[in-house]
Structures are given as C-alpha cells and as structure tokens.
C-alpha cells in the first residue's frame, strides 16, 4: 500500500481512531426508537433539500448572468433553450418552497416535543438563525429573476428594512448598494445568494449536526429509557427513501406546474398587484394591517422571542409550573401564521 503510506506521511492523522470515530458518528449512532416514525425524518429533509439547492444552484450558475440587461434573458435562456434547463430550474424553484415548508414542519416537531430544552438551547438558536438565513436566500434568489414581480417585490421588501430602528437605513444602503434599486442591488443579492448566505448556512448546519451528534438525539420527555437503534442501515434507508421521494415529487411538480417567467422588469411600470412569495404572506399582511413602525417592532419582538424561547420558557415555567405554555404559544403562533397567510391569498 505504497499510496496509503505516501498520503499518511503527508497528512498525518490517526487512521485507526478516525475510522472508529467516523463509525460511531455516522454508522452506529444510536437513535431513539421514537425516531422510527417518519415524522422524525423532518430534520433530514431540509438538509437533503439544501444539498439539492446547492447542486442545482451551481448548475444554474453556469448560465445565469447577474446584470440588469441579461438576468431575465439568461433565465429565459435556461428555461427555454438549455437542454433539461427547465427541469433544473424547476427543481431549484420548487425545492426552495419545499425547504421552507420542511423547516417549518421540523420546527413544529422540535417545538412540540420540547427538544430545545436544556442542554440543547444553542441548537435551537442556531435553528432560528438558519431559518432567517434560508428566508434571506429565498428572498435574494427570487429577486435574481428580475421580472416585474421580483423587481417590485425587491423594492417593497427592502423599503421595509428601512423601518428597522437605528440600523435600518444602513442595512438598506448595504443591501441596495445605493439609495435606489440599481444594478448594484442585483450583484449584491447575487453575492448573498450564492456566496455569503450558503457558506454561513453550511457552517451553521455543520455545527447544528455536530451538536446533535455530541448530545445525541433528544429523547422524548417521559421516555428517557427507550431503546435505540443504529443509524445504519435503517435510518439511512429512511433518508434514502426521503431523498428519492423528494426528487420524484419535485420533478413531477416541475412538469405539472412549471415555474414561469413573467414580464421582464420595467422600473417605469408598477404592476397593480405586488406580492412576495407565499411564506412572506403573513408578514406582509401584518405590515399592511398595522402602522408600519408598529409592525416592524412587533416582528422584531417575535424574532427575538423565538430566538430566546428556551430561556424565556424556563423563566415562565418557574412561575406557572402546571401550564403547558409551549402548547399554547405554539398553537396560537401556527394558527395566526396560517390565518394571515390565507387572508393574503384570499384578499388578493
């Protein structure tokens, strides 16, 4: 094994220990029996979708041109003329929506099983941060299309950032690369979408999974003594099936409901209906109903409470030990979110 020796001489790591650790982490990791339920595959789903996005995103970046003149045209080129272009683009588009849904479902699962409780609070915070970054990626990604809807959604969306107290206008200038939405905006969004955000997200994902592996998967409350099974081969098969299913489902969606192109962006013509993507509907509605400043403050408060929820809950639990606070908070949040989303769909 001349080659092996050659490598080990230049990259000196302990091959015995490394393979042992690898095996423990990846293959033999005990997973509590409750995870056999498909509900618990919801953590892997966003990861799988993220990998889809990275791969399809890199492929799309082979043809996309981030300039005001060519952005729309290059997307049209991909959709209409590149072989399998419409499929890769459809995958990327649909996977982004599904990723948001998967993350939300995962959050709901984690929240309602109180897996964020001590000692896993940091993981929860990381999760919230990852959610925000993902939404940021969705927002920036959609703007790259540079059709009427994306141009105006970008304008309106970044306008709202202005309302954030203290740092609002600085962030606005940073994002837009100037006072108005210009060519700079497009290039900055492109940078965020393919550079800064994915890297940040990847780092967070690694830390997130690392923490899970280090802590072990959280056991259900009241079932601390349950059995566990090893990751490979069962959970692995679960994951494989999820991957295959997602790929099939998204490809089918691409064929049945292909993503459209819309009208190329025209800064002189404001369309009568400007709407963000569906996952922003609830935020959009709230900001339409409430006075803008109040709405922004409210949203910031919601973000802060969500981020530090494990600690907040701890404090509140000490006050009212009998109340299942998380149950109420979670349910009300979900109901409100759905209500505002549906409201926006129906009203427009």
């Amino acid at each position: 094994m001349k080659i092996k020796e050659w490598i080990l001489h230049r990259v000196p790591f302990d091959i015995q220990r490394t393979s042992q650790v690898m095996e423990r982490i990846f293959l033999k990791e005990p997973i509590p029996k409750h995870m056999k339920n498909w509900y618990y595959a919801l953590g892997a789903t966003p990861l799988i979708l993220f990998i889809f996005q990275v791969i399809t995103g890199i492929m799309l970046a082979l043809y996309f041109i981030p300039s005001q003149q060519m952005a729309y045209e290059s997307v049209r080129f991909i959709t209409e003329e590149v072989r399998m272009g419409f499929w890769i683009r459809g995958l990327h588009r649909w996977a982004s929506s599904l990723m948001v849904i998967a993350i939300c479902l995962h959050m709901v699962r984690v929240f309602f099983t109180r897996a964020y409780r001590k000692p896993r609070e940091i993981n929860w915070i990381l999760g919230i941060l990852m959610l925000i970054i993902t939404l940021g990626m969705c927002f920036t990604g959609y703007s790259l299309l540079y059709n009427q809807l994306s141009y105006w959604a970008t304008t309106v969306g970044t306008n709202m950032i202005n309302e954030i107290p203290l740092v609002g206008s600085i962030i606005l200038n940073l994002l837009r690369g100037g006072e108005e939405v210009t060519n700079n905006t497009l290039t900055r969004f492109y940078n965020l979408h393919i550079g800064f955000f994915p890297t940040l997200l990847l780092i967070f994902i690694i830390i997130h999974i690392l923490l899970i592996r280090l802590h072990g998967v959280a056991k259900l409350e009241g079932r601390e003594d349950e059995e566990s099974y090893s990751f490979y081969p069962e959970h692995f098969y679960h994951t494989l099936v999820v991957t295959l299913f997602l790929l099939t489902f998204i490809s089918a969606l691409t064929v049945i409901l292909p993503p459209g192109l819309g009208e190329p962006a025209d800064p002189n013509v404001t369309p009568s209906h400007i709407k963000p993507e569906w996952y922003f509907f609830s935020v959009y509605t709230i900001l339409k109903i409430l006075p803008l400043k109040l709405g922004i403050y409210l949203l910031i408060a919601v973000v802060l409470i969500s981020t530090f929820w494990p600690f907040i809950e701890d404090i509140l639990r000490k006050k009212w030990p009998k109340v299942n606070l998380y149950y109420w908070v979670g349910s009300i949040t979900i109901v409100l979110f759905l209500a505002f989303t549906v409201y926006e769909i129906i009203v427009s």
Partner: protein, 544 residues
C-alpha cells in the same frame, strides 16, 4: 429475522421509490423532447431606418405601422422604411419630415415597388385592374353624381387603377395591405370584396353563396393562406378563393398578377364579348379560357368543367340578345322623340344605348346592363345561383315588362300590342340559346315543363341554328361546339326524356295535393264573421 424483515421492507421501499423516480425522470426527458422551439428572427434596423423608427416612436406618429412592418416579410430581409419611402428632390410627393432633414415620399407608387417586384408590377399593369375605363365615360356619370360623393365612393375602389404623376399605374397596397403586405390578407376573399361587391357586381356575395365560398368559410381557420404558388407548386387548399382561380398558379401554370390573363369573357360591359385584351402577350380568348380551365381541372372532372362553362358561356351570349331588345327600344323611342338625350352646348350627356338618368326607358336599359344584366352573367359563370335567377333574369324580365308598359302608356303601338296580347310566348321576344340538360346530373322531370319546349315543335331547330352561328362566329370553340352537339344529339338522355320518374313524381304530387287541400280549407275558404270596416260607415260611438 424480524430485523431482517423490516430491513427487507426498507429495501423494497427504496427500490420502489427509485423506480418511481426513474419514471418521473423519463417523463421529464419526454417533456423536454416535445418542446418546440420557435425561432423568431431578430429584426435589425440599420442606418437611416433607425432615425425613422426612433422619431416616429418618440412622437407617437403611426407607430403601429412599425409593428406591422416588423410582422411582414420585408423587415426580416432588412428592407426598411427608407427603401420604399425614399424620395428625390422635385418628385411629386417628396417632402421633408417635420423637424428633420430627411426627404421622404408620401406615396410609394408601383414604380417604387417595381424596383424589386418588377414582374408583378408589369403583370398588373397589363391587366384590366390597371385600366381606367371608368374615366372614359365618366363625364356622363358625373352629371348624376357630384364629385364629393365620388371621393369616398367611386374613387376609393378605382384607386387600384390610379395613374400616378410618375407615370406608373396601380395601387399595390389595395390588396397587399400595408405595412405587413401580407399574402394571406391579399388572398382573403373579403379583400377582393372591398370593391367587387354590391348590386352591380356582387362578386363577394356570389362567391360566398357558392359551394367554393361555403367550404372556404367552413375551413378558413384551419388554412394557412401565406403559401407560395411560384415555381409550379400545387394549390395547397381544398376549395378556391378568388386568388386561387384568378391569380395563383398550380402545377401546370405560373401565378400571375395579370387577372385578365385567364378571363375569356368581358362580362361587365354593356355587351358580352370574347376578350381581346393584350392578345399579343396573353393570346386569344381560347388561350385564356384554357388557363382558367387548368385551375378548375385541379379539382373538377373535365366533363363537368366543360359542361358548366359552356352553359355559362351560352348565358353570356343570351344576355346579348336580351340587351339587343332593350337597345332597339331605347333607340326607337329616342328616334321618335318619346325620350330625349341630355345636351349642353352641342355635347351630349346621355346615350340611348349606354346611359340616361331621367327617363324610365333609359334607366331600365341602364339597369338591365349595369345591374341585373351583370348579376345575371356573373352569377351564371361564378356559381351564384340566386344571382342568376332572382337578382338576374327575374329582374331583367321585369325591366322588360316595365319598359313595354311604359311605352304602351305613352301610345307606342308595338308596346300596346304587347301589353294587350294574350299570347304566353310574349315574354320571349328575342332569340334563345339553350343547353340540353345541365352539368349537375339528369332530371327526368324538369324538362317536361317548359312552355317553349311543349309549344314549339321546331324549338330545338331554332336553338341549333343560333348556337351554330355563335360557333361560326368564333364565339364558341370547336370543343364547345362538339360538346354541344353531343348533348343535342342525345337530347333524350340529357333532357331526361328517356327516363320515367312519373311514379316518384306522382307520389310527391299526391302529397302536394294534400297540401293544396290543406291551404284551401285553412285559408282560401275561411270566412270570418267579423265584418270589415269599409265600405260601411262606422256606427255612432254612443251607449253600450
């Protein structure tokens, strides 16, 4: 084992899902293959045309014509505004575009089109579309219709034969509407129908009544009218439009913009006559007729074509006989002073054989050629049965009756004799042509009825003599005469006399008798009790 089982199930599930994925990926690939990519050519606007487009777009002047131009075939080949609208100093329509130094022509004429389309312009100029015949007798017409009325009337249609100051003739965009100059629009029957319409030449109406027009209407949405029949390409559509017979080519002959090339009759004129237009280049009428027949025979059997056209030709000749009668009367009435010509300073403004607007015989004679006479002829030769019959011969005969009645009222002895005559043959005071049977089939019943058949034993001898004379005068071709002879010598077959359908006729007659009985009982014999209101005077409107 249980573990193995569940693992097995897992593997099974993986296998199933991977096949599902395979299927979907195949579907994706299929969708990809099926997509048709339409390559719209990029229109490049170069040089001075850029200035035209920019200025017109900025000022919002006639901007749709730019869009129209982009749709047409000139734009793709880099033929732009200035190529047609260029002008030289001193030309009749040259002017500077406002706020610019560009000298443009307001009216591109056929001379401009001829720079690239010389053949079509020359062909057009050789046709009667370029003939200003309407001006030859226009002075007489102009006393009846003042100029303003003709601007959007006569002049609009006859613009097609406009003579321009630069000596070119015609108006190409009369059919090839600008700025697309689309072939499909030019082929649309309604394009011809913009002018070939109305009581004096209802061509679009005749066409739409005909089977050709009917099939066209049923299928027009499916047909792409943008085809080419240059280079002896076959006719691609199932039923003809105006352009198919009069302009387009087929395997046997090229297309031509000379519509007179295929017309063997002059049928709009006061007298029908065989065409001699451009004999040197287009040949005699038989040559022209053979060109038309070649198109007919793309679809129709030769026997049908020949029989139909011969019958129509005899109708053309028959009209002449009817006209002969009208003309002799107006001449006579003018000669004996019953009617008079309009005159000023020694020049006449009406003509006893052509036009006259103020006296009934003149009007009747005019209508008998310009309106009902044309309708009769055009309906006969272009398959518009209603126009041959009710708007044709029926109106013609009525005109004749009106003429005789008017003359009789004013004391003309011949007319009075006609009015007082009880002889049913009085409605045929002219020589007749006839054709044994028709082109459509054999009818054992219809030829038993006609008055002239049953009351004149020498009828067919007279007809024979007339048709023979027409042939000898070269008004019918030898093939036509032979066809007529064949029909004549087999009258018993073609007129259906050989065959007996009496029993069938009696069946329908018995049903008709029932109808007769019904309307007699229901209507004729109905006596209402309520009295009419006249002649008795109304009762006083008092008590009750």
């Amino acid at each position: 084992m249980a573990e193995n089982n569940s693992l097995q199930t897992q593997r099974l599930i993986v296998g199933v899902f991977s096949f599902l994925l395979l299927v979907v990926l195949i579907i994706v690939a299929a969708v990809e293959m099926k997509r048709t990519r339409e390559d719209k050519p990029v229109i490049e606007i170069s040089g001075i045309n850029n200035r035209c487009v920019d200025c017109h777009t900025n000022k919002g002047i006639a901007v749709k014509s730019i869009d129209q131009w982009k749709e047409g075939i000139h734009a793709v080949q880099n033929i732009g505004c200035y190529d047609c609208h260029k002008a030289n100093e001193g030309e009749f329509d040259a002017f500077y575009c406002p706020e610019s130094d560009v000298l443009v022509a307001r009216h591109p004429t056929p001379k401009d089109c001829a720079e690239c389309h010389k053949q079509q312009v020359d062909e057009f100029a050789a046709s009667k579309h370029a003939h200003q015949f309407w001006l030859i007798k226009n002075t007489d017409r102009s006393i009846f219709e003042f100029p303003l009325a003709t601007r959007h009337g006569c002049e609009q249609c006859h613009q097609i034969s406009n003579v321009w100051p630069d000596q070119s003739v015609g108006e190409c965009d009369a059919c090839h509407a600008k700025h697309t100059f689309s072939k499909a629009v030019a082929r649309q029957p309604e394009t011809c129908g913009e002018c070939h319409i109305g009581p004096d030449h209802p061509h679009i109406e005749i066409y739409l009544e005909s089977k050709h027009g009917n099939i066209f209407r049923a299928n027009e949405k499916k047909w792409d009218m943008n085809y080419s029949t240059k280079d002896n390409k076959p006719i691609p559509i199932e039923a003809p439009t105006c352009a198919t017979c009069h302009i387009d080519g087929n395997e046997a002959q090229p297309m031509t913009h000379n519509v007179s090339d295929r017309l063997a009759w002059e049928t709009q004129s006061p007298w029908s006559f065989r065409t001699v237009w451009n004999k040197e280049t287009s040949g005699n009428w038989e040559m022209k007729r053979s060109r038309m027949e070649s198109i007919c025979k793309s679809c129709h059997a030769p026997d049908f074509v020949n029989s139909y056209l011969l019958t129509a030709d005899l109708n053309m000749l028959q009209y002449n006989e009817i006209r002969r009668m009208f003309v002799s009367w107006t001449k006579k009435l003018t000669a004996n002073g019953t009617i008079s010509r309009l005159e000023l300073n020694g020049r006449f403004y009406s003509d006893p054989v052509l036009s006259g607007w103020d006296e009934v015989p003149e009007v009747l004679m005019y209508n008998a050629w310009h309106h009902e006479g044309r309708r009769f002829r055009h309906g006969a030769i272009m398959m518009g049965a209603d126009f041959t019959q009710w708007h044709g011969i029926w109106d013609l005969q009525k005109d004749m009756v009106d003429l005789f009645s008017w003359a009789a009222e004013r004391g003309d002895p011949e007319a009075k004799a006609w009015v007082n005559s009880k002889n049913p043959a009085k409605f045929v005071p002219y020589a007749l042509y006839d054709f044994p049977g028709n082109a459509f089939g054999i009818n054992p019943l219809s030829n038993l009825q006609p008055f002239v058949y049953t009351n004149f034993p020498d009828y067919w001898d007279r007809i024979y003599a007339n048709v023979k004379t027409a042939y000898e005068k070269k008004l019918l071709s030898e093939n036509q005469w032979n066809l007529w002879l064949k029909r004549f010598n087999n009258r018993d077959h073609y007129l259906g006399y050989k065959y007996n359908a009496d029993s069938v006729f009696n069946f329908y007659k018995s049903l008709d008798d029932i109808d007769t009985k019904a309307f007699t009982e229901q209507a004729v014999e109905l006596k209402l009790p309520g009295k009419p209101f006249w002649p008795s005077s109304p009762s006083s409107p008092s008590k009750k």
